[in-house]
Amino acid sequence: MADPEKKGHHRWIEVSQVVAMPLVTLVVGYLLNSSISSSQTRDSNLRLYADMMGRREEADSALRKDMFRSILDTFVAKTTGDKTDPEAEVLNLELLAYNFHESLDLGPLFKHVQRQLTVRTQGGTSAPKDQSLLWRLERVAEEVKERQLAAISESGRVERGELDVTKAGAGAWSLGRSLIALKPGEQRGGATLCLSFASTDFAAATTEPVTHYRQFRVEFLDFAPDRREVELALAVSKPLQREQCQQLQESGSERANVETEAQFWVGPFGFPMIDNTRLSRSERCSVSVIRILDNSVTIAISYFPASRASLKDKPYYDEVLQDLLRNPSATSAK
């Protein structure tokens, strides 16, 4: 009774051995083949996408080049003696600003048109519309700045506030929650803020975002009402620990922590993506004048990764190398 049962078991084992080998080969072959096939499809799709993007970029660049040249020619043509139409100039500037604000510093052109309009309004030959063109010019610049600040705030930090040009020292500034409060009765030359943003760029071995904290000290120096510009001094600390950043340092330590200092005039035509200050670790910061009303200047201080700076912004080679050494995957993903 036991023998036929044993024989039956043996037969089943033999049969399954014979069947299993081709079956396993078939399954493994199929899986391998489908994996290679899907990988090839993915590679081919990526190549196609990159190719399409490249062609689109080329076509876009050609179109923008033609557009840029034709608009810019209208500004250059005036020097050959053609008559100036202020309204056409403002319209051309609007076209340039809305289409090229991420790749060109249009500040000088804005200032040039502003100077011309100011001369016309002051010279007595002013048409009633010249004043409104001046306002339109500032409104375009404001819209462009707001667009850039919106893009910056997605991955960086933007702090807004007011500057009273009739006052001096820290008391001239009225900023948001990043402002570090002074002790009662304390007098300082400028306002100090602690700004931070989370970044995965320098997370070294981990892909978890790391928050970078820096102190920003802004000092009001001068105001030119005719040019509608303020002169500021900016000092930015090296990256700090959160607790260290959120409290005012003793002036000696504050000085030791300073990484970058800058002094500049800034007005309504300074655009944060273009007109900014370089910091270590591929970071940028900028102080923008949003608008000026009488003695009150609306200011935006932004702190953001270099990847959000303009297309014109070129990283230094050593900066790129440091990025690669710190985190190869983050850099290659950019």
Binding site: Q187, E231, E261, Q263
Partner: protein
Amino acid sequence: MQRWGAAGLAAAVLLVPGRLDAGAIYGSIFFNGAGLKGAAITIACGSETVKGATLDDGSYRVSTPEGRCTLTVAGAFGTASAEVTSASSATRYSFEVVKGASGYELRRQ
């Protein structure tokens, strides 16, 4: 009393608007590694002299006529001077008060 006097002087200097043709000298004065509070600052430009004082963090800002001037800081250590140049735009001069061969002097930061 002296402290209130210095603070008042500093506030007065900072709040008075500068002349249109004037520049400004600003910065910080450090002594023993810390900001020098309430030190009197005198800037002499030719026949004109302007005065100010440092704030709690050692910072100062004084409107001055344009040109070459001498900045003098007076504190508990005595006085120390340095040559500065004032231009139409504000010019930053931060100094550390250090002991030199002949008394204290200002070393530019």
